[in-house]
């Protein structure tokens, strides 16, 4: 069976005043149908750029230099802006943004915004009344209070958690095959976070959708995801089934990330150093300057990903 989403060798660079900055350099991931894939990495590692590249909403200064993004068998990189709008965004790929407080248009009723999406992307032959009915039943399923008149209200009349539910409803409105969620719980308090995560997992199983879940929290990955893809400095460093990667992490960066997790770490050590600037990437392994196992070869040769016994693909010269 072909995967829902497959990204191979994706390279994206940004034009800056200081020259071309390579933000994504050989990122790959595969999402199978009905599964949840967690994309993990520190701030600035290229997670948002990856999402934007998939949806074709990179800023004007960005260029895709290489690679392919295959969604349900079609390479999205050859789609025009118009085709993406008509066939992909909002209809076959739903999006759940990071900050529910800032992502809804403050001066339009929730209904106007959700119906705007359905207007262009719902199956042909459905009427506005059908759309309203569909949205109301989704809002009821998502436990939004007062689902019958929620569409008539404005975003500021809802709490953060409720707004995230509205955005989830928007993402699901046109029955997409893939939903991309960009750290959808970071702006919420811990209890609300937990509820939203449970809800997402239920919806994935219930509606037969595939979910690409971007986060920096490995705890969330463990709770929600089937597979995981760890990104460092614009490169996939380790990917595979969640149990394999989290139980026996092979890449030193994954190990370091796990060691930092508050539930596991003994002290708040963190990872020494910072993510290298996309303008001055190390020539060899990008994690080498911060790695505890560095050998001379790490500074010169960029390792390629190899399959390990655990079942994970790891980009490191140390055979695990």
């Amino acid at each position: 069976m072909i995967p829902v989403l497959s990204v191979q060798g994706l390279k994206v660079s940004f034009r800056t005043d200081a020259g071309m900055a390579s933000v994504l350099d050989d990122v790959g991931l595969t999402l199978e149908r009905g599964q949840v894939l967690g994309v993990v990495g520190e701030s600035g590692c290229g997670k948002s750029t990856l999402i934007r590249a998939i949806m074709g909403i990179l800023p004007g200064a960005a260029r895709v230099n290489a690679g392919q993004i295959v969604f349900e068998g079609e390479n999205l990189l050859v789609f025009t802006e118009r085709e993406l709008n008509q066939q992909i965004r909002g209809s076959r790929i739903g999006f759940i943004p990071q900050d529910p407080l800032l992502s809804l248009n403050p001066v339009f009723k929730v209904g106007s915004q959700l119906l705007e999406i359905m207007r262009d992307h719902a199956p042909p032959g459905t009427s506005r009344a059908d759309h309203i009915q569909r949205l109301v039943s989704l809002l009821r399923r998502l436990q939004v209070p007062g689902p019958d008149n929620a569409l008539e209200r404005y975003p500021h009349q809802f709490s953060g958690g409720q707004r995230q539910r509205l955005l989830i409803a928007a993402a699901l409105a046109c029955s997409p095959g893939l939903v991309i969620a960009d750290e959808p719980t970071t702006a919420l308090d811990v209890t609300t976070q937990h509820e939203i995560l449970l809800l997402l997992r239920e919806l994935v199983d219930e509606l037969d959708i595939s979910l690409l879940f971007v986060t920096h929290d490995l705890g969330v990955v463990a709770a929600l995801c089937d597979t995981v893809c760890v990104i460092y400095a614009g490169q996939t460093v380790e990917s595979g089934p969640v149990e394999a990667v989290l139980r026996a992490p092979s890449h030193p960066y994954t190990q370091a990330l796990l060691a930092c997790h508050p539930e596991r770490s003994v002290s708040f050590t963190g990872i020494g150093g910072t993510v290298p600037s996309p303008l001055r990437m190390p020539t060899g392994c990008r994690f080498a300057p911060r790695c505890g196992y560095t050998e001379p070869i790490c500074a010169v040769a960029l390792p390629i990903a190899t399959r390990r016994k655990s079942g994970a693909d790891v980009r490191c010269v140390h055979s695990g």
Binding site: M55, N85, P97, P106
Partner: protein
């Protein structure tokens, strides 16, 4: 909810109107020229002046004069113009529609050109259309209206002969029956399409002259507003969810971007009525502006007072309307009050 909002704003306007009454009253008291002497003329004897002073209550205690003045102002009784010898309120009522017609026309031009140009400049941020529009809008603010007026007259009236030079209607065209007082409205209502066409031709140059400054500032504020909105998270989200570009910009982005523009339009409206004075004088437009110029030149106190109060009331009303439009555009404001 909207009614409560409006009533609240109206109540808030009352103190400023009272303040305006006090201020105008004090102003007449401190003006060096003696109103009674001005009315009586140069040849008057001291007895005649005293007689006039008594007639107008200028010999009564100050506070009493104020209450008489305020009471009359509320009843729109501004006495007679010292020169037309007609009630000032009547003169104003007759001339106000012409000014409003000119002002609305200028408003319409500056909004319907200024807003789209501002959006266009923002979408072409830091490209040549943006630079060109920025330069033009700086010029629009900087260039004096009287200069523009004369240049337009020279070019379009004198040189090309496309548009009439001055006035509201050609002498050869009999004015339509007066219903609302608005020339264009009345000529439409009475089916006088010849008067409508002629009136419209007369309106173009003064309206364009008056519109330029306002349009320039509307372009700038709209451009800044749109640029700011385009940075917001919800715009990224709307793009990601496949909103059509045209609807995204002209509906979802624009409505978030016009707060400052609306404030600006409100200020402009008051400013246009006051600023129309020069334009009306140059184009010989039969409105409040030319009337006021005449009153100032001849020292007609009653008229100056009434016009000052009128402009104050216009500002107050426009402020209420501006607040209301703000509330309608951004429901968060309505909920907060």
């Amino acid at each position: 909810m909207i009614l409560r909002f409006v009533l609240r704003r109206c109540a808030l306007a009352v103190p400023s109107l009272i303040g305006l009454l006090v201020l105008t009253f004090v102003l007449i008291r401190v003006v060096p020229s003696d109103p009674a002497a001005a009315m009586a003329g140069d040849a008057a004897t001291p007895e005649q002046i005293a007689q006039l002073r008594h007639e107008y209550g200028l010999d009564r205690p100050v506070w009493e004069q104020f209450f008489v003045y305020a009471g009359k102002a509320v009843r729109l009784d501004f006495g007679e113009s010292a020169f037309s010898h007609r009630p000032v309120a009547l003169d104003i009522a007759q001339r106000l529609p012409a000014t409003l017609e000119l002002t609305f026309a200028a408003m319409a031009i500056s909004i319907f050109l200024g807003v789209p140009l501002g959006v266009f400049a923002a979408l072409r941020h830091n490209q040549w259309p943006d630079f060109a529009l920025r330069m033009v809008s700086v010029l629009g603010v900087a260039v004096a209206a009287f200069w523009v007026a004369i240049m337009l007259q020279l070019l379009f009236a004198m040189e090309l002969g496309w548009l009439p030079l001055r006035g509201e209607l050609s002498v050869s065209v009999p004015p339509p029956v007066r219903l609302s007082g608005f020339l264009l409205v009345d000529s439409l209502l009475t089916g006088r399409f010849d008067a409508f066409g002629d009136g419209l031709a007369h309106l173009v140059l003064p309206a364009v002259t008056l519109a330029l400054g306002g349009m320039a500032s509307i372009v700038r504020f709209t451009r800044a507003g749109v640029l700011d909105t385009l940075q917001q998270d919800f715009v990224t989200y709307e793009r990601a969810m496949g909103y059509r570009r045209m609807r995204l910009i002209w509906r979802y982005v624009l409505r978030n971007s016009v707060t400052a523009t609306i404030t600006q339009i409100g200020l402009l409206f008051g400013g246009l009525i006051a600023g129309g004075v020069v334009v009306e004088a140059i184009y010989d437009w039969p409105g409040i502006g030319s009337y006021t110029v005449n009153a100032i030149l001849t020292g007609d106190h009653q008229v100056m007072l009434a016009v000052t109060l009128l402009i104050g009331v216009v500002y107050a009303v426009v402020n209420i309307l501006t607040d209301l439009v703000h509330g309608l555009v951004d429901p968060r404001l309505m909920d907060r009050s």
